[in-house]
C-alpha cells in the first residue's frame, strides 16, 4: 500500500469511528447507518460487477436472504445482551453465499444484458418466496425481531452504526486485497476480454464464482444488520428494487471499478436523499431532487466522481510539468 493510500484509509476510519461521538443525535447516526449500509452494498456490488464487468441486478435478493435468515434465526434464539445477532453475521454471510453458488453458476453462463436480466429475476423470485413461504416468513405480514433492551435509548443506533462500519471495512479490505492479487488480474482480464482470457488458460468461471461468493458474503451480512436495526421486515422492504438501483447508481456515481468510488457515491447520495426527504416533505417531491443531484454529477463527471477527479489531477500535473520544461532555459 502506498503511504497516501494508507493515510486515506486511516483518515476514513478515524472519521468513521468519531462521527457518532461528535454527532450523537439519533437522527444523524441514523443517516450514518444508512450511508454506511449503502456504501457497503455499493462496494460489494463493485467487487463483483465493477471488476468482472458482469452487471448484476440481483444483489438485493441476497440482502433480503441475509435479512430473513437473521430474522428467522432470532425468532427462535435468544438475543442475549443484544450482541448475539452481530456475532453470527459471518455465518449468515457464508451460508447465504454458499447457497447462491449453484444459481450463480447457471446465471454466469450468460453474458451482458442477459446476465443482468437473469439476475434481476432472482430479485423477484426471492421476493415472491418471501411472500409465499408463509410457514417461515409469515408472508406479507412480515417478521419481527426482538428489540435489544441493553443498547440504551440515547445510543441505540451506535452498535448498528459500528456493525455497518465493520462490514464496510471488510468489503473495502476484500476489494483492496483482490485488486492486488492474481484474482484481481483474472477478473480484470475477464472484464476486458473474457474469450481471450480463456484462450490464455485463465480459469474464468472459478474467478467469477469467487468474486460472486465474496460479494454475496458481504451483502447478506449487510441485510442481516439492517433487519436487526429495523426489527421488522417484510417482503417489499427487504427485497426492494429501489435499494438495488441505489447501490448501482452510487457505484456509477463514485466510479466503477475503483476502490473508494462506491463509498464516495454513497457519501454523496444518501445524505442528499435524506436531506431532501426532510426538507422537501414526505411526498414524492424529494425523489425529483434526488434525481437532480444525480443528473448534475453525471453531466459534470460522466465517468463518475473518482475517475473524473483523477483525470483533472493528472492533467494539472502534466500542464505544470510542461510549463516547467518551457520555463527552463534551453
Amino acid at each position: 500500500m502506498t503511504s497516501a493510500g494508507l493515510a486515506r484509509a486511516a483518515a476514513f476510519l478515524a472519521v468513521g469511528i468519531a462521527f457518532p461521538f461528535v454527532f450523537p443525535a439519533a437522527w444523524l447516526v441514523n443517516i450514518g447507518v444508512l450511508t454506511l449500509m449503502y456504501a457497503a452494498l455499493a462496494t460489494s456490488w463493485n467487487l463483483f460487477s465493477g471488476y468482472t464487468g458482469y452487471v448484476t441486478l440481483g444483489q438485493v435478493a441476497f440482502f433480503g436472504l441475509g435479512a430473513y435468515t437473521e430474522a428467522i434465526v432470532f425468532e427462535h434464539v435468544a438475543i442475549g445482551s443484544g450482541y448475539n445477532p452481530f456475532y453470527v453475521l459471518p455465518l449468515i454471510g457464508t451460508g447465504v453465499a454458499l447457497a447462491s453458488l449453484p444459481v450463480a453458476w447457471i446465471a454466469l453462463r450468460t453474458r451482458a444484458m442477459t446476465f443482468a436480466i437473469v439476475t434481476l429475476t432472482l430479485l423477484f423470485i426471492v421476493q415472491q418466496l418471501a411472500f409465499n413461504l408463509h410457514s417461515v416468513t409469515h408472508g406479507s405480514s412480515g417478521l419481527m425481531l426482538p428489540t435489544p433492551t441493553t443498547f440504551g435509548v440515547d445510543t441505540y443506533d451506535q452498535p448498528f452504526y459500528f456493525a455497518m462500519l465493520g462490514i464496510l471495512c471488510v468489503a473495502l479490505l476484500l476489494c483492496f486485497g483482490i485488486l492486488r492479487s492474481k484474482l484481481g488480474l483474472m477478473l480484470l482480464a475477464v472484464r476486458e476480454d473474457e474469450e481471450k482470457a480463456r484462450g490464455l488458460g485463465i480459469r474464468v468461471t472459478g474467478a467469477k464464482l469467487t468474486a460472486w461468493w465474496l460479494h454475496v458474503f458481504v451483502t447478506a451480512m449487510v441485510g442481516a444488520v439492517w433487519a436487526y436495526y429495523l426489527t421488522f421486515i417484510y417482503p417489499e422492504s427487504s427485497v426492494d428494487p429501489l435499494v438495488m438501483i441505489g447501490a448501482v447508481l452510487m457505484t456509477f456515481l463514485g466510479g466503477r471499478g475503483t476502490l473508494w468510488g462506491p463509498v464516495i457515491g454513497a457519501l454523496v447520495l444518501v445524505p442528499a436523499q435524506q436531506y431532501m426527504l426532510i426538507h422537501l416533505g414526505g411526498g414524492e417531491g424529494y425523489l425529483i431532487g434526488y434525481a437532480a443531484v444525480f443528473v448534475v454529477v453525471l453531466l459534470l463527471m460522466p465517468r463518475g466522481i473518482l475517475p473524473s477527479l483523477r483525470d483533472v489531477v493528472l492533467r494539472t500535473r502534466e500542464r505544470r510539468r510542461t510549463r516547467r520544461m518551457e520555463a527552463r532555459p534551453a
Binding site: 486485497g177 492479487s181 492474481k182 481471450k196 480463456r198 484462450g199 490464455l200 488458460g201 474464468v204 469467487t210
Partner: protein
C-alpha cells in the same frame, strides 16, 4: 517427419446453416515444425483454428494433440495442456499494462489465486520476453495505447508466458509494417529453434515459403495439398484455387 505429429486433425467438419466452412479436413503439425495453413479467403482457415482451439464446436472429426484425443475442446483446458493461439485482430487487455498483460497469461494452479498480482520472477520473465520482442521500454504503458503492430507483438509475447508446446498464429503479419514482419519472422525462427512448434495462417506467401515446412493448402474447407513449400508452389490444383479457374 515419421514420428506422430504433435497436432493431428482428422475429418474435421463444420457447417454454418447451408454453408460448409470446413469439410472433412485432415492435416498434421509435426513436432518442432512451423506448419503453414494457407488458402484463399473463405477457405476455412480461421474456422479450423476455432475448432482446434475450442472456440467453436466441430460437427464431426477428431483432433489429437500431444498424443491424446481432445474429447471436449475447451480453450482453458487446451491452453493449459500447451496449445495456445493468437487472433487475427490482436486481442490484448487494453486497460492493463504490458507487464500485466504478460503476467495474466501465466498459467497458475488454484492455490495461487490470492498471491501477489505480479510476482518478481514473473515480472522479470515478462520484461525479458518483452525485450526480445523489442517493446520492453513500454512495459508500464497501458496496452490500449499501443499501435496495431505493437499489439500483435504483445499478444504473441503474452501467449509464450504460458509455456506452450504449439502456438497457432492467425495472420501474425497482417497489417504490420515490413520491419515488424521481419521481427516477427525472426521471433518465430528463434522460438522454433528452441523446439516450439507453430501452425501459421498467413497470406504473405513470400514469408510462408521462406519460413514454413510443411505447407497445408485449404480450399473450400478441404485440404488441397500438403507438403514442402516447393512441391506445393508447383501444384496445379493450388495455382488453380488461388488464381481461379
Amino acid at each position: 517427419m515419421t514420428a506422430t505429429p504433435l497436432l493431428e486433425v482428422e475429418g474435421l467438419t463444420k457447417r454454418f446453416g447451408g454453408v460448409t466452412a470446413v469439410a472433412g479436413c485432415s492435416f498434421g503439425v509435426p513436432e518442432g515444425s512451423v506448419t503453414a495453413l494457407v488458402g484463399p479467403n473463405g477457405s476455412g482457415k480461421t474456422t479450423a483454428f476455432n475448432l482446434i482451439t475450442g472456440y467453436a464446436r466441430a460437427d464431426s472429426g477428431t483432433v489429437r494433440f500431444a498424443g491424446a484425443t481432445v474429447r471436449r475442446p475447451d480453450p482453458v483446458r487446451l491452453s493449459r495442456s500447451g496449445l495456445t493461439r493468437t487472433f487475427q485482430q490482436a486481442r490484448i487487455f487494453p486497460d492493463l499494462t504490458l507487464v500485466e498483460n504478460m503476467v495474466a497469461a501465466v498459467q497458475l494452479p488454484w492455490t495461487a489465486t490470492f498471491t501477489r498480482r505480479v510476482r518478481r520472477a514473473e515480472r522479470e520473465r515478462a520484461l525479458q520476453l518483452l525485450d526480445e520482442f523489442g517493446i520492453a521500454r513500454l512495459a508500464e504503458e497501458r496496452a490500449g495505447n499501443l499501435s496495431y503492430g505493437q499489439k500483435k507483438l504483445l499478444e504473441f509475447a503474452a501467449v509464450l508466458m504460458g509455456e506452450p508446446k504449439l502456438v497457432l498464429l492467425d495472420e501474425p503479419t497482417a497489417g504490420v509494417n515490413p520491419v515488424l514482419v521481419e521481427q516477427i519472422e525472426e521471433r518465430i525462427r528463434g522460438l522454433n529453434a528452441r523446439g516450439l512448434a507453430f501452425l501459421v495462417v498467413e497470406h504473405n506467401m513470400n514469408l510462408v515459403m521462406r519460413l514454413c515446412d510443411p505447407v497445408v493448402v485449404l480450399a473450400q474447407g478441404t485440404k488441397l495439398a500438403e507438403g514442402h513449400p516447393d512441391e506445393v508452389r508447383n501444384d496445379a490444383r493450388v495455382l488453380d484455387a488461388y488464381l481461379g479457374g
